[in-house]
């Protein structure tokens, strides 16, 4: 007669600790049989943000991409991506190991030169439903269109760029969730691209900050395009006159 706990009881016990990282780490040391279920919660949210080669450390700890805990991750946050993946030739294989990510947050991702560091991220996780881009280059619309199930989109302080370089893709996500556009003075070029998406906009919620009349008119266009679905509208109405600083709005 086995003295070990039935696996479903063990799973249930560990699931109760899903928001207790310290306890989960202790569970990992109890028994090898406890490790898989514990990893599911420990690696549900992964954030790469330090400048001390966290990607290299990850790859050193988990050299086999196919067997790394990355497949447990449903929320992935990355900051300073060009710095993180500089001189990394295997970034494609590494990022594709995060194949079950549902929420992706990218922050402070700008670059110089023709090749975007975002290219390896295109479609890396087909399950992504929420994408947040903060202080990122304007060239993100190909990335947006590479996630077919994308529902929620957040764009914060995108850097200005040449708006004419984009080739409209043949298909785009349905975008049936929420749109957050916190891009002071930059609403028109972003709205123009969103309005060009071939499969339209179907947002239920829109949050947009308008710093001038052009922003407001573009917001009107977005609202009109989503008129059949839009239920919640959150407007930052900062026109006319002097405007507060962007940081105050965000």
């Amino acid at each position: 007669m086995s003295r070990s706990l039935p696996p479903e009881i063990l799973d249930l016990t560990i699931d109760h600790l899903h928001d207790e990282p310290t306890a989960l780490k202790a569970c990992c040391l109890v028994s090898k049989s406890w490790v898989p279920r514990t990893r599911k919660h420990l690696f549900a949210l992964v954030e790469f943000r330090t400048l001390q080669s966290p990607v290299e450390r990850w790859k050193k700890n988990f050299p086999d991409h196919s067997n790394s805990p990355a497949h447990h991750t449903h929320t992935l946050c990355i900051r300073n991506l060009p710095t993180l993946i500089a001189a990394d030739t295997e970034v494609g294989a590494w990022i594709r190991s995060f194949r079950n990510v549902v929420q992706l947050h990218l922050e402070r991702i700008t670059w110089e030169g023709p090749r975007s560091p975002l290219v390896p991220f295109h479609g890396f996780s087909p399950t992504i439903r929420s994408l947040s881009l903060t202080r990122t280059s304007f060239e993100v619309f190909d990335l947006i269109c590479s996630f077919p199930l994308l529902e929620d989109l957040t764009l914060v302080l995108l850097a200005a760029d040449d708006a004419d370089r984009w080739t409209v893709p043949l298909a785009s996500p349905k975008l049936t969730g929420s749109l957050e556009l916190i891009t002071p003075g930059m609403v028109p070029p972003i709205a123009r691209r969103l309005l060009e998406l071939p499969d339209g906009l179907h947002f239920v919620k829109i949050r947009v900050t308008c710093l001038n009349e052009e922003d407001a008119r573009s917001a009107t266009d977005l609202v009109s395009r989503c008129s059949s679905t839009l239920e919640i509208l959150d407007i930052g109405c900062f026109l006319p006159g002097g405007f507060p600083s962007a940081s105050a709005i965000v």
């Binding site: 990282p21 420990l42 949210l45 992964v46 954030e47 943000r49 946050c77 900050t209 308008c210 009349e213 407001a216 008119r217 917001a219 009107t220 609202v223 009109s224 989503c226 008129s227 059949s228 679905t229 839009l230 239920e231 919640i232 509208l233 959150d234 407007i235 930052g236 109405c237 900062f238 026109l239 006319p240 006159g241 405007f243 507060p244 105050a248 709005i249």
Partner: protein, 157 residues
Amino acid sequence: MTSVVSSRVGFLQLLRLSDASLPLIDVVTAMEQPPLDLSKATKLKYLMFLCRGLKIQPTIMALRTVESKTLQRITIHPHISAIEGPIEETVQEWQDLDRLLIQFWTSRSVRSQFVYGRDEGGNYLRDHAPSLLPELTRRGLVDLVEHTPPSLRTTMR
């Protein structure tokens, strides 16, 4: 452009002087297409405005375009770090908003919400609601809600 604006303002002032019963906002709305037109958002349920300070003219203009019959709540959140400048300049605007929100309640049962924070001295701005929205407050048709900043994101290191 400046001369056009000046002449328009002069025209409005003339209208106002000649016909005191004519609401100024109606004249502005009739003459200009509001930058933010919400007339096509016919399924709106919740509408929130974060306004710059106490200046709410763009908010009023946008509210006047609302045609949604499913609207349930309008939230006004003045972004105020301190009371800026002479408040008399904005009194007329807030009176217009007060009337407009009452109209929303009486005609469509749309509830109003006033979100308040703290000024630079740490004092709550809740006490300003009765002076900014007097009729709405007197009739108990506005919910006063304290603004709570979004909590810091939980991260795993």
